[in-house]
């Protein structure tokens, strides 16, 4: 398939403004004739639904939680980037663009990234006007910090709750449109099918999670803003409900899925403490500014009290291997190094499944150097949170950390208009693949979700709608009836298996396999093994699953079954993509392609986005390539030695 990215030609600095002028508009009086579905109420979805409502479209917004304010965006902690250059430290739109392209290891589309950097400044204005209480200096102006190793201070933050505060801004704007009657909110509704009529996305089928009712919703366009798929690993830092269902179902209806293997692992999460573990908690990366990472040199010491391990028996492996960056080495490098020492049997903390997976993050030196008072001022709330979860006081015993899946750069392929390969189906936020290439910089996911929702979709959607006639369709159309039938049949299938194993037990099995074979380090043999094993797990799932109750009630096992069924298909595609990409770049580390631990990119052969087409479950997918060109930021090799 020929992939047309529709990027504007000409100088990148003015590309978006020129493009905005060239796109078609919908006259304000005509907007109410158009209806738009927005699936998702996170930063991307809530921002889009509120804005489209303000503009006069008829919007229906969906989320599976009981309130749109609970979307996973709520959990983001660290901050949001914007090229305001308030600190006068050399930041600019161009620099944010440059850093993002480079940080993505040259696997993102330059024009998209430039637009993102350009819009970042409007986001801050909008959020402040909505009443988002960002951190401020004593003079009353906005405060910034440097985040994730950036050389400029461009990150805006709201204590450790930047995500919650930004989402509240968008959610409140959304509630305003709901009470004005411009947006109809369908909370506790899960989208289970995308419906196409005459080759265009014309609606969805959703199940009301409260009553179990399966309903069709018709529209002139559909926006998917349903977040990322880190939960394919079962254990991740994502909220429990995060899933791949909406994008996977759209994929099965023809939307290409791009770069599914590009996932981000966060180095500082609280390690797993037992087999019952249900999720992993992220601890702010800022801890690495003062904490020192180590493990015992001798595996025999691993079970000892860390206080009894003398200095000369400790291996400060990041400082040893990467003397210039040390404990502040980038996310992917720090993560892989932790895995390596644990694989060598030198991990610490409780053994889960026979292996200790944890490394110490030690503040003893920081306390000596800065005093307990100043350490607690900087990290007190994080220490408290750690103590609450582990029951250990970090002032007394070193913290234990281990990497965990955190963010997914891959997603449905979209063009510059954020439209997928299904006309009329747009994809926003973490659900699309667009801006972060093979690795996302800290504090830039919030930025992307809001840029997509507030400032991109209102223009590109109008351009699309201006070219189609509104309405002319209702839910009695065969395409909707068929989709409803498919949803109902699937529900009956889940309920009818009456096997022995729970949904969670399958999800865990898949997740551990994905983590082992398609996690921080990947290689041909492991990926091939996973591609063999996933269909077998899937087969057992469909034979031996137990889901009780009925389809016509609140049935949480049934909800999970649908999501895990999709992960069981999607996981295979992730491994296929990881196998096909015979290079290491960003978060994708193929062990065969390295220079002594450093990722070896292969621009000659792999400078493209891999957009996969669906051909059936268990049938080899088709690879389509969107070649990438870099006219502004010249590809270079990252080095942190």
């Amino acid at each position: 398939m020929e992939l047309n990215s529709r990027v504007p030609e000409g100088p990148i600095e003015t590309a978006w403004s020129r493009h905005k002028f060239n796109m078609k508009l919908v006259n304000p009086a005509n907007r109410r004739k158009y209806s738009v579905i927005v699936v998702g109420s996170g930063l991307a979805g809530a921002a889009a639904a509120a804005t489209l409502g303000e503009q006069g479209y008829n919007v229906a917004c969906f989320c599976f939680q009981d309130s749109p304010r609970r979307a996973h965006s709520i959990a983001a902690q660290g901050g949001i980037n914007a090229a305001k250059n308030y600190q006068n430290d050399g930041d600019s739109v161009y620099r944010l663009f440059y850093d993002t392209v480079k940080g993505g290891d040259f696997r993102a589309r330059e024009q998209n990234v430039y637009r993102l950097a350009e819009l970042s400044v409007n986001i801050i204005d909008q959020a402040v006007a909505q009443g988002v209480p960002f951190a401020r200096e004593y003079g009353g102006l906005l405060a910034n910090r440097s985040f994730g190793g950036a050389q400029v201070s461009r990150t805006f933050y709201a204590r450790g709750q930047t995500g919650q505060q930004l989402l509240l801004g968008a959610y409140q704007a959304l509630e305003r449109q709901i009470s004005a009657g411009k947006v109809k909110m369908f909370a506790r509704h899960e989208m289970l099918e995308l419906v196409e009529v005459d080759g265009r996305a014309r609606g969805i089928v959703a199940r009301c999670l409260d009553t179990g009712e399966v309903k069709s919703f018709v529209a002139d366009a559909v926006c998917l803003a349903t977040g990322g798929y880190s939960n394919v690993f079962f254990l991740s830092t994502n909220a429990k409900g995060c899933n791949v269902t909406s994008t996977w179902r759209a994929h099965k209806k023809g939307a290409l899925f791009a770069n599914p293997c590009f996932t981000q692992i966060h180095p500082t999460c609280i390690p797993q403490s037992g087999d019952y573990q249900s999720k992993l908690t992220l601890m702010s990366e800022s801890l690495r500014n003062d904490g020192r990472v180590w493990v015992p040199k001798d595996p025999a010491d691993c079970g000892k009290n860390p206080k009894d391990i003398p200095e000369e028996s400790r291996d400060y492996y990041l400082e040893r291997k990467y003397p210039s960056f040390g404990n502040l080495s980038p996310r992917d490098i720090a993560s892989r190094a932790a895995k390596q020492v644990c694989d060598e049997g030198r991990g610490v903390g409780p053994a889960v499944g026979g292996v200790r997976r944890g490394v110490y993050l030690d503040f003893a030196d920081a306390v000596k150097r800065l005093g307990k008072g100043s350490v607690s001022e900087k990290y007190g709330n994080l220490f408290e949170m750690y103590d609450r979860i582990t029951g250990e006081d970090p002032y007394d015993v070193p913290m234990r950390m281990y990497p965990a899946p955190h963010y997914t750069m891959g997603g449905l392929w979209v063009d510059y208009h954020l439209m997928s390969t299904v006309p009329g189906c747009f994809v926003l936020g973490e659900a699309n693949f667009s801006d972060h290439g093979a690795n996302r910089l800290g504090a830039s996911a919030l930025m992307q979700g809001l840029a997509d929702g507030y400032f991109v979709i209102p223009f590109t959607l109008a351009d699309y709608l201006a070219g189609v006639k509104p309405g002319g369709l209702d839910a009695t159309h065969a395409a909707f009836k068929d989709a409803e039938g498919a949803v109902n049949a699937r529900t009956q299938q889940f309920l009818g298996i009456k096997g022995k194993r729970t949904v969670d037990s399958f999800h865990r099995e898949l997740g551990y396999l994905m983590w082992d074979k398609c996690g921080m380090g990947r290689n041909r043999a492991g990926l091939e093994e996973a591609i063999q094993r996933i269909p077998a797990i899937r087969e057992e799932f469909w034979k031996n699953l137990t889901v009780g109750g009925t389809g016509l009630e609140l049935n949480q096992s049934l909800e999970k079954a649908g999501r895990v069924a999709d992960f069981l298909e999607f996981g295979e595609l992730m491994c296929i993509d990881a196998l096909a990409r015979e290079e290491s770049c960003g978060g994708h580390f193929r062990e065969e392609y390295q220079d002594d631990g450093e990722a070896k990119r292969n621009d000659a052969e792999f400078q493209y986005a891999a957009a996969w087409g669906f051909n059936g479950v268990g049938v080899a997918p088709t690879l389509n390539k969107e070649p990438l060109s870099f006219n502004y930021v010249k590809p270079v090799t990252r080095s942190y030695k």
Partner: protein
Amino acid sequence: MKLTLNVWRQKDRRSPGSFVKYAVNDVSEHMSFLEMLDVLNEKLQTEGQDPVAFEHDCREGICGSCGFMVDGRPHGPMPRTTVCQLHMRSFKDGDELVLEPFRAAAFPIIRDLVVDRGSLDRIVGAGGFVSVNTGSAPEANSTPVPKSVADKSFDNAACIQCGACVAACPNAAAMLFTSAKMQHLNVLPQGEPEKYERATNMVLQMDKEGFGHCTWHGECAEACPKGIPLSSIAAMNMDFNVGNLLRTPPTSGGDGGG
């Protein structure tokens, strides 16, 4: 450790509910409370029984999805801690606990420990926003906000809309929640222009939803996992009263007149 749980089981909105006793063995002190329930649910399902429905998502104390009563206290015994962040080391071997949903007229029970808190969204919709359309915002630093004001706003904005305050209140009032949302915005220069209208509309909506009235017990602030202070309610009452004094009845003709 071993625990005994008395859990409220209710099939749907209409059916009556009752307590059912369950034994949970092999509880590790490192488990979170919800992980302990996961273990119970895995067991129930393999025995062919319906799992206990409870709401949760982030499991990090921020989304506000989780929440039920543990021995009569919203989110259980740990101060300032949501039930998803509560760990089993707060309990001891042999404990017998009672789990029931948040109870309030404005929170109908949907199933087991899951209640419908849509009324809180509607209170926000009545006025818990700043009327600013996308794109019309001025440059962010054009209005300095004193740090103390921004901090005060933040203390209120920290509310996670879990409904614990309502469940704790003997009158099932939503005063703490409503005042937190209101004061988050009312103290900021951006929220100031709509301050009194916001107060009136949110309070009226609160009444309409069937929440009770405040008789100043203060249980709400005790139960709040985010430490929203009682003083927010006092500030809300003030804004509401001033709003009432300032309110002029709508003149006839509305937006007509030509």
